[in-house]
Symmetry: C2
Subunit: 233 residues, 2 copies
């Protein structure tokens, strides 16, 4: 009997925005796995830190900080081998994932490598999109409205076209793309309808009208945009 690989969503950052299922799995973990970025600390591990048993084995996947695909994929190759070895001995492995495992999560790289050979269970988590809406107190979508989620690194012409055609918009991974996104929204006359959120749900959370956003945005920042007038009364 091989073990089960659990891809466990931890939510946006506040430990109590983890699900009950995630908490129970982590509390009982024999083996946990998570990525770190370029030898730094792991945000996923930090969210779960208070629940990880001291006796748990920890499989750390150190992912190099580069936009090139191959070095990162080599790190997931190596991590998948170590996870597979634990699963082969019958151990379950709890993979810690920021947000939701299947929503811009690195877990899907492990899923692609291991799901054909092992039982994999996904525990969905609260995404940064709804966490940011909650922090900003901005309803995202109601009734028959459409929501478009766009990554900030998209090229400027594509961002412009996609935002112009959309209704409610969440722009993820703003970071160093903030100036480009500002320019697009200014050009579309939408800056006043946009809100900037960084590190949603954490103590250092920031919520500001886009016009007041800082010039240097961290990777974990988002812009929410709603075009309609308030239709909820």
């Amino acid at each position: 009997m091989t073990g089960t690989l659990y891809g466990v969503g931890l939510g946006p950052g506040a430990p109590d925005l983890m699900t009950l299922r995630a908490a129970r799995l982590i509390e009982n973990a024999k083996v946990v796995a998570y990525p770190t970025l370029a030898g730094g600390s792991s945000f996923a591990r930090a969210i779960a830190a208070d629940l990880i048993p001291a006796s748990a084995e920890e499989i750390v996947m150190d992912v190099p900080m580069t936009t090139a695909r191959e070095p990162a994929q080599a790190a997931y190759d190596a991590g998948a081998l170590r996870i597979a070895a634990a699963l082969e001995t019958g151990q379950d492995v709890i993979c810690l994932c920021e947000g939701d495992p299947f929503f811009y999560g690195s877990f899907m790289y492990l899923f692609a490598r291991l799901s054909t050979r092992f039982n994999v269970q996904i525990v969905p988590g609260v995404t940064s999109v709804t966490a940011c809406a909650a922090s900003a107190k901005r309803p995202l979508v109601a009734r028959n409205e459409r929501l478009t989620v766009l990554p900030g690194p998209l090229p400027e012409p594509e961002l412009r076209a996609r935002i112009d055609a959309a209704e409610s918009v969440a722009i993820m991974k703003v970071g160093r793309h903030l100036a480009k996104i500002r320019s697009v929204l200014d050009g579309l006359g939408l800056t006043e309808r946009a809100v900037y959120i960084e590190r949603a749900s954490l103590p250092e959370e920031v919520v500001l009208p886009l016009a007041q956003a800082p010039d240097n945005a961290p990777y974990f920042s988002m812009i929410l945009l709603t075009k309609g007038s308030d239709p909820w009364l």
Copy 2:
């Protein structure tokens, strides 16, 4: 001192997909509020049932089953009055919301009525979108992919155009719109890339290739569609 209104996301249906924060608020609730549909039972209350204290006051908003806007809005008017009365006495009110309060949730009708007069806190929840992806074991979006969320009731030409222009798509509220959506996806040659999920995370959950979906879909059903080839290896 007036009380605080909490809009509490409960997740997709499985009680243990509620967040730790939601569970703690409900366990300590003095007043809970939730909608029922046309005198029927409340899905939100059912998710939270095991945690609601027997002593808690329950404010039930009975929402008539109609696509007309006015009768439903009258029900939220009446509910908002009762919630306001409790808040005025200094009681906190825990409003139970399926999924996430700001993601196609009826809570925003209460938010629109009460947030200018009272302190409102939103507790984000796991949405049906990521819960369906977890159940179907289908990654939603990675890297710089875009996600478009579309409500099934949209008119056929708009659905077709939006799906044609999109990359990853989640179609919500499928229900009686299934035949129309099937026709759109067939026409676009996308049926084989689509998966049908109903009642995600509940014991009666169904996950099927779209081609095998039943003719009569419940309201809580979704279609997920990814166009790209698997880019995760």
